[in-house]
């Protein structure tokens, strides 16, 4: 797998760094809605960041190019939306439910797709994604078909008698920021764990990983499940924000956005998804405000992507990390990096 990754590697850490990362991330999350013109934009960025975080685990860290991840995003969205309409809009139920459905979906899809490698694997993920899309398309009674799922009640967080409604985008952003913080810290830990490093070994050279005793199929399957679960969570959070589920969330073009954001930010880096989402959503917002462009912003994103693939294959954050690494080579004993 010749993916360009700048994976910052495990060298001796300075104690300051352990504190620096969470603080910097928290500061970023606090400042984001302040700096941006409106909260909904900040919330959308975090939704995409989480979607790509899940995707990056499979793609950037395990080396598996899935082209059907919209399936999990959509599964999470529809689960949260349907539960909210039929049973309860309590986030403490709908979010775990969405994650569970996504995880199961990931297990099933992964079980089949991982039987093949390379192009065949990718094509099978695409097939499953489209399968789900057309099933949702036909099953109008449940999903609303082309019209999507509407009339979704506002989500709320309820523990016993105490309830907090997520009415405004700011409320949703609060929830998103907390979850994003936790997710990124959790992933940072995961990627430096034996499991996380085993996945990276598989990305680098699956044959070699197997030759030293790793059951690569099982490891890849777990990566798939985790990746799907996180993407599903992002889908559910998207529903809290939009109060609507569109059929397009299951289309392969949505999968394409996950790939795009991940590569744009930097595959195989922890902060890549966040940076990529920021760039992507930010660009979309800025461009669509220009009267001559409005809805045609994907044109420029596509161009940017082409430039990226040709000139910055490591993505924005990936390139930053590489520059950092070259700088740090002066003092290898100190080493360390943010992600």
């Amino acid at each position: 797998m010749e993916l360009k990754v700048s994976s910052q590697l495990l060298t001796a850490r300075r104690p300051l760094e352990a504190v620096f990362f969470p603080v910097a991330l928290a500061a970023f999350l606090v400042l984001l809605p302040v700096v941006l013109p409106y909260e909904a934009l900040a919330a959308q960025i975090l939704v995409y960041a989480l979607f790509s975080l899940g995707y990056n685990l499979l793609f950037g860290y395990t080396g598996l190019l899935s082209f059907g991840h919209a399936a999990f995003f959509g599964l999470g969205s529809y689960t949260a939306g349907l539960l909210a309409r039929k049973v309860t809009a309590n986030v403490l139920w709908t979010l775990p439910a969405a994650i569970a459905v996504g995880a199961v979906g990931g297990a099933v899809v992964g079980f089949f797709c991982l039987r093949r490698r390379g192009d065949y694997f990718s094509l099978m993920t695409l097939a499953f994604g489209q399968l789900l899309y057309f099933i949702a398309h036909q099953w109008r009674e449940v999903t609303g078909g082309d019209d999507g799922l509407r009339g979704i009640p506002v989500a709320h967080v309820q523990v016993g008698p105490w309830a907090y409604g997520l009415e405004s985008s700011r409320d949703v952003y609060l929830l998103l920021a907390l979850l994003t913080f936790g997710a990124f810290l959790g992933f940072r830990r995961l990627l430096r764990s034996p499991f996380g490093t085993a996945l990276q070994a598989i990305r680098e050279n699956e044959l070699r990983a197997e030759a030293v005793g790793y059951n690569t199929f099982r490891l890849k399957l777990w990566a798939f499940v985790l990746s799907a679960a996180v993407s599903s969570a992002a889908g559910a959070l998207n529903v809290y924000l939009l109060k609507f589920v569109g059929l397009n969330s299951l289309h392969w073009t949505t999968s394409g956005y996950a790939v795009l954001i991940t590569i744009l930010g930097g595959a195989g880096t922890l902060l890549g998804p966040l940076v990529g989402a920021l760039a992507f959503v930010g660009l979309q917002d800025v461009l669509s405000a220009i009267p001559a462009i409005v809805d045609r912003w994907p044109f420029f994103v596509g161009l940017l992507f082409i430039v990226c693939v040709l000139v910055f294959p490591y993505g924005i954050w990936g390139t930053v990390e590489r520059v950092q690494a070259r700088f740090r080579k002066q003092a290898p004993a100190l080493g360390g990096s943010e992600s």
């Binding site: 010749e2 082209f67 499953f128 489209q130 294959p313």
Partner: protein, 287 residues
């Protein structure tokens, strides 16, 4: 269900399949020789339809349009290969998939920028309008023409691959690029030519499909995935596979529309998944 109705459904399916055959051959060609999965294939299909529609609009000659579409797509394809795709060969599958996907975005959105979200009119040319009596049923003349065009195209591609020196180089390059180069063949030309030929076929498919399905910017998105289905079932890099699988899938879908319309789209992907699980190289693939 009468025999006539079944026969009609069969022929309808074959016509649907015919378009898929042309587009899939192009995709398979590109995969077989350049080893890349061309995510821009649908976009070129769409461009071919657009150009053909415009050509008919300006000149009034459908036959000219059928020539213009694939030729201009071939030229564009060569440009794209030289400018972008060709620079990514050493880098592995991932980057060519991503690059072609980005090209697709740019092309589709670019078309929307230039000509808006509503596509041009593309009517069936007068000489091909109307019905033909097939004995068991009346059938649109144009659809029969599409069948004929497909048959000729398949023959043409076959002849090009197996009876011309260029085709020989193309086949040799797909089997052993190093050796072919050692024999003095300019491999970069062969690769550019193959990509150009592949997307020319996509453009031709679009031009033929235009009067049938209408011309609009997103018309290539579905065909892209559908041609993946065909290529996987037929076998990547196999001409025969693309033909057989295209027609087969067309007929299967046609009958599914008749008997279990709910599954009409789903059945395609079930077949694709089944193929990948049971026999990933497809019916005639050699991988």
């Amino acid at each position: 269900m009468s025999a006539q109705a079944l026969l009609l459904q069969l022929v309808t399916g074959v016509v649907v399949g015919a378009i898929w055959v042309i587009v899939a051959i192009g995709l398979s060609l590109i995969f077989g020789i350049l080893r890349i999965v061309n995510f821009a294939h649908g976009a070129f299909y769409m461009l071919g339809a657009y150009l053909a529609a415009f050509a008919v609009g300006w000149t009034g000659h459908f036959w000219l349009a059928l020539l213009v579409a694939p030729l201009s797509m071939a030229a564009l394809g060569v440009l794209v290969e030289r400018g972008l795709v060709g620079r990514l060969y050493g880098r592995g599958l991932v980057y060519s998939v991503l690059a072609t996907y980005a090209v697709s975005l740019v092309v589709i959105e670019g078309v929307k920028i230039l000509w808006g979200t509503v596509g041009p009119q593309f009517r069936v040319p007068a000489e091909l309008a109307g019905m033909v009596n097939l004995g068991f049923s009346f059938f649109p003349k144009y659809r029969l023409f599409v069948l004929l065009a497909t048959a000729l195209t398949v023959l043409g591609v076959w002849w090009w691959l197996y009876r011309t020196p260029m085709g020989l180089f193309v086949r040799a390059a797909s089997q052993d690029p190093l050796m072919t180069q050692a024999l003095g063949v300019d491999i970069s030309r062969v690769l550019a030519g193959a990509f150009g030929a592949g997307v020319a076929l996509a453009g031709l498919g679009g031009a033929l499909a235009g009067p049938l399905r209408g011309v609009f910017p997103e018309m290539g998105l579905d065909i892209l995935v559908e041609s993946f289905v065909v290529v996987v079932i037929g076998g990547m890099g196999s001409l025969l596979g693309a033909v057989v699988a295209g027609l087969l899938v067309g007929v299967v879908q046609s009958f599914t529309f008749l008997w279990a319309p709910v599954f009409a789209h789903v059945v395609l992907f079930l077949l694709m998944i089944a193929t990948l699980l049971v026999r990933p190289q497809g019916l005639f693939g050699t991988e």
